[in-house]
Amino acid sequence: MGILVNKDSKVIVQGMTGREGASHSRAMKEFGTQVVAGVTPGKGGLDFEGWPIYNSVAEAKEATGANVSIIFVPPAGAADAVLEAAHAAIPLIILITEGVPTVDMMKAVQEVKALDAQSREHGGEGVRLIGGNCPGLVTNGEAKVGIMPNKIYTQPGRIGLISRSGTLTYEAAKLLNDAGMGTSTTVGIGGDPVIGTTFADVLPMFEADDGTDAIVVIGEIGGADEEAAAEYIKGHMKKPVVAFISGRSAPAGKRMGHAGAIIMGNVGTPESKLAAFKDASVPVADTMPEIIDLVKAALHQ
């Protein structure tokens, strides 16, 4: 169980033959993910450690029946790689690349959403982009399409995890593991200002997933994704949700590593996020370990 990816997901890797692409292809394979092919324009026909390399996503999809693509293409070509996958009707696209120009992401995200709507209107399964600048996603014991360390995601669990931060995702997953709970699916949505999938997009999937009992949302300062999530939870979620917000002590106007983590004027303040979660009756952990206590409390209510 879990959402978005599982044992049957057939994954291609755009940029497989690069350093990052190669090492993470190996790690995904070790995890048990069905990595079926790589795409590197100009290297079509190559056999790369047993994987066939294609010149284009369309060719790779045609040959392998892939339904997920993970992208390790350098920043200048990353948005184009997303569009290539989207136009090839790959239903799930994970953009790992960090440092993609924001304007490129604006254009790509808008176009992917249009293609998604078009696909759905014609009875298709749509097109979803996750990221960029994200660690990917993993359904414990089934498939990892991302760059998170394998070992903290082996033990199947029933807590869904969504996060804007890579390292805090690992941290949270480990805490849940150590507490004997484990995660169902972990979705790293990415720390950039413009991303393909937000908290509010992922929450309904967890709500509908029989393998998930509760959800942990790891937010941070900047933007209003947490507020949108709180609003969605208030109106639609029956399963318990626990939140954490990092960067609560960061000053306004300073960009905290993630391009999206910046308080501008009244937008993106921890106060606003805390108030929104309070309004939605979502408990917010003050520290990472407190997440465990809150999840336990929520599950035992």
């Binding site: 920043p75 200048a76 440092g99 993609v100 120009p101 924001t102 304007v103 490129d104 604006m106 254009k107 995200v109 808008q110 176009e111 760059i147 998170m148 360390p149 903290i152 996060s163 804007r164 931060s165 890579g166 390292t167 805090l168 995702t169 690992y170 941290e171 480990k174 720390g191 200002p193 413009v194 991303i195 790891i218 941070e220 300062i221 900047g222 933007g223 209003a224 994704d225 949108a228 990092s246 960067g247 609560r248 002590s249 960061a250 000053p251 300073k254 960009r255 905290m256 590593g257 993630h258 391009a259 999206g260 983590a261 004027g265 009244n266 937008v267 003050d286 520290t287 990472m288 370990p289």
Partner: protein
Amino acid sequence: MKLHEYQGKEILRQFGVNVQEGRVAKTPDEVRQIARDYGQSVVVKAQVHVGGRGKAGGVKFSADPDKAFENGEKILGMDIKGLTVNKVLVTRAVDIDAGVEYYIGMIVDRNVQSFTLMASAEGGVDIEEVAAETPEKIVHYRVDPITGLRPYEAREVAIQAGFKGNLNKIADMMVKLSQAALERDAVLVEINPLFVDASGTPIALDTKFEIDDNAMYRHKDLADWREMEAEHPLEIEASKYGFAYVKLDDGNVGVLGNGAGIVMTSLDVVNRAGAKPANFLDIGGGAKAEIVYNAVKLVSKDKDVKAIFINIFGGITRADEVAKGVIQALQDGILTKPVRMRIAGTAEEEAKALLAEVNSPLIQMFPNMFDAAAEAAKEANK
């Protein structure tokens, strides 16, 4: 990358925006010469990368060339929030009373996944104040990033914002602002005040322009504009190493970790422990000993730092590499402040063994981040 006013204006001019004429001066004599050339009253404006230069005395109206010289003398060399003024922009003055001052801006807006065009008839003041006090006076409009703002949309926004003057010319300036933002990869561009003179013609009097660092590779012509002296020296050094580094005011604990999220949380934890973080420093994933060494070196240079808190969650990053980097810094005499660190995960035991070997009171390792932060805070507050 933040641009100076004169640089932002140069870009807007390239896109056809009607920008108030001005020239850059580095000496009071040059200021006087420009004022003479213009043959009219001028404004002398400090070019520094901080807000509030007006309140700090960095912007002065000058009725004649001698007065301009005098103001140039005052402003050049002035210290504004820790930055020295090396350049001023001398512009023709306008008769503000003979027109109106508006605000227009384009800003990356996470919530609409594109640029939002902002327009307000309340120009000439800090727009964040307007946003806080009378948000209804700002019109927000999502700009399609693929097509850019179209003239008819710009007119609609101008009408909604209650702008008076030549509607087509004002809309045209908005369209060009949008083009500049999209083609030059702005994070933020503002024209404030957008002065509309008695004839209805719009003129950009001041501008803020900030460019997406991720996109600098395709604006090589702007790279020369990055003026190192105008930024915090440690931020310059950090950018050489490729670190995400932010200097924070009034701090005493240096903070570093692997990943933006974990470092942000580390700031929170230090705060909670009763100390103040002196910086944000993300060394990234999979860091080797040398990178850690450089990070420690950088943070150690900050005189505000009394102790260092290192917070590593080892997935790709190996704990022993972190330990090696810290130990090397100690052995090279670079590290003279107490380091309290938490390293979880990969090769944790190897790290412990290395530290045990060195056995220095300056370096201590803790099983969780709270204990490490608490100890760092204790050292810093001593």
